[in-house]
């Protein structure tokens, strides 16, 4: 196939960048002496949930040191958002944590709303809660499926993705896209949900509890699963706090901290739900916490749907929110606003805000700084996976390599969220 003239595109291989000299401070003296083995795991590895590279120092099968190397999915989202107007930058947020698209939209739009002091109508708030909770369920389903798959439980994966399809159908019904919805916008939602929405969600609420039981029947008392998860990856609460771990991983260490409860946003204070915690601090506890979160999310969705108010879904502050399509034909003012908002964008006041939501993985925060121009001056994403990932070397110490894939699963990292 390859003739001699075929031009080879030269690509420099810098995969093993760091000779041992540069990593000496991270490995033990035994690695320098050649007593232990340095092994590269990833970036293409089936159980690293994406493109995560781990440099392992091994004594036989035991992990002495684990050095994560991230950035293989670095997308330059923060820099790229600075080059777009506030509204256009929302498309970037979907692609950060690709299992929590609506949650990312929500965090970013909440930051803009805080910056501009923008009100959101109650119907939009309730719909945001419903969608965010459905997104949490779908994210946990992907986590559950892949986590079980890592432990060679294939069927859980198939069941989880079956239910996930029905959630994605609901998203598609609202926004026209399965994953990258860009549905939540500053000041509300892109548009109202279609009439079939309520029935679809109710239908899901009806079938899903029995499906959770199905997963639990497969895993919760499965001796193989217990063997792989009990007492694996112990994370004491003080260490978790010191490393800034948030989300289910923190709650499974017995710390009751959930931003939906302690710092309610989007009207979470109206709904009655519990924050599941566990005190066992191991992988199994984190599994139980996430399973219980599925129940609680369903409970929230049900309440929000039952008292879903009627009314507009976008704020009518025309300085920030474009007018509805129907007004453009009849109102000159609406036409001007539409034109201005979609060509130039809006100009928020100078200042900086931080707004955080509880994503399925933990605290998802947006630091947004405005210099008064139509483009954000600086957007920083405080992503939960990035912080939670730092706990992996601690968890992996003195475990077997086989347990490492379980540990990567249990902290539920999404590499798009880590690398941004």
């Amino acid at each position: 196939m390859m003739s001699d003239e075929t031009e080879f595109r030269e690509i420099e291989f810098n995969l093993a960048p760091d000779s041992l000299d540069e990593l000496k401070h991270l490995v033990s003296q035994r690695a320098v002496d050649g007593d232990t083995v340095l092994l590269n795991m990833g970036p293409q590895h089936p159980s690293t949930h994406g493109v995560l590279r781990l440099l392992l120092e091994l004594d036989g099968e035991q992990v002495i040191n684990c050095i994560p190397d991230v950035g293989f999915l670095h997308t330059g989202i923060e820099k790229n958002m600075e080059a777009k107007t506030y509204e256009k930058a929302i498309v970037m947020t979907d692609r950060l944590d690709y299992l929590n698209n609506l949650g990312n939209n929500l965090a970013y739009c909440m930051a803009i709303e805080k910056l501009c002091d923008l009100d959101v109508p109650p119907r939009a708030q309730a719909l945001r809660v419903i969608l965010a909770e459905l997104q949490r369920i779908s994210s946990h389903l992907v986590w559950l499926g892949t986590h079980a798959l890592d432990m060679a439980a294939m069927s859980v994966f198939l069941y989880c993705f079956r239910e996930r399809e029905s959630i994605l159908d609901i998203f598609e019904m609202c926004s026209g896209q399965r994953m990258m919805t860009t549905y939540i916008r500053p000041g509300g939602l892109w548009r109202d949900t279609p009439v079939e929405f309520e029935d679809a969600v109710r239908n899901f609420l009806k079938i899903f509890p029995s499906r959770i039981d199905e997963y639990e029947r497969l895993l919760t008392k499965n001796p193989l699963f217990l063997e792989r998860t009990r007492k694996i990856g112990m994370l004491p609460p003080d260490v978790a706090l010191q490393y800034g771990v948030t989300g289910p991983a923190l709650r499974a260490s017995g710390v009751n901290h959930d931003l939906r409860k302690v710092q309610p946003y989007s009207g979470y204070e109206q709904y009655d739900f519990e924050v599941p915690t566990h005190t066992d601090c191991d992988t199994y506890a984190r599994y139980l916490v996430r399973i219980e979160e599925l129940h609680q999310s369903l409970h929230i969705v049900e309440q929000a749907l039952n008292k879903l108010p009627l009314g507009p879904v976008r704020s009518n502050n025309r300085k920030y929110v474009p007018p509805p399509r129907s007004e453009i034909g009849v109102s000159m003012e609406a036409l001007i606003h539409h034109f201005k908002l979609w060509t130039e964008g809006f100009t928020p006041p100078v200042g900086s805000v931080y707004s955080a939501v509880e994503s399925p993985r933990g605290e998802l925060g947006v630091y947004l700084e405005s210099d008064g121009s139509p483009k954000p001056y600086r957007v920083h994403w405080r992503t939960p996976s990035f912080t939670n990932m730092q706990i992996l070397p601690y968890l992996a110490k003195s475990h077997l390599v086989a347990d490492l894939v379980v540990l990567i699963g249990t902290i539920d990292v999404v590499l798009g969220d880590v690398d941004r």
Binding site: M1, M2, T6, E7, F8, R9, N14, P17, D18, E22, H25, L26, V70, G71, H74, G76, E78, K79, N80, A83, K114, L115, D117, L241, Q242, Y243, G244, V245, T246, V255, H257, V262, Q263, G351, S352, V353, Y354, A356, E363, G365, Y367, E369, Y377, R378, H380, R382, F386, T387, M389, Q390, D419, R420
Partner: protein, 169 residues
Amino acid sequence: MQITQMIVEAFQERFQAGLYEFRNEVSLILSTEQIAPAALALRDEFNFELLAEETAVDYWPEQAPRFHVVYRFRSLKHNAIIGARVPLDGNAPSMPSLVSVYANANWFERELWDMFGIRFEGHPDLRRVVMPYDWEGHPLRKDYPLGYEEVQFSFNFEEIDVRKPYAQD
């Protein structure tokens, strides 16, 4: 709001901290020497257990201060959040690291070194975290170009296609 008021008063007295307030969010403005003791005080005296975020903003072309390093601390006990900003001068700034106070500052500071070129003294492992190891420059600085490549449309398809580096087998 009670606890933040208390902290602001205490820190104004102890560190002569400045104050930045916007939309009910309070940030203390501290100098580079003060940030480590201030963080220690926040953690030990005021129960701010979590370092929620650490990032930076580049105000180029302004030189002094060119950067602001932004911290945000969260207290679970008081259910409060407080920010801190540290102005930094110059093109190759450095400041003390917070790794000894909050362990998760480790990657945040590696990211700041990677993206902004801010050195952290006393950091145990200051390597690039997300960019390739041999990357030059610090992408999130304002004088670093976005790296935009011209988009191929049907009218300029051929023109760009000629210089597009296609891979061979």
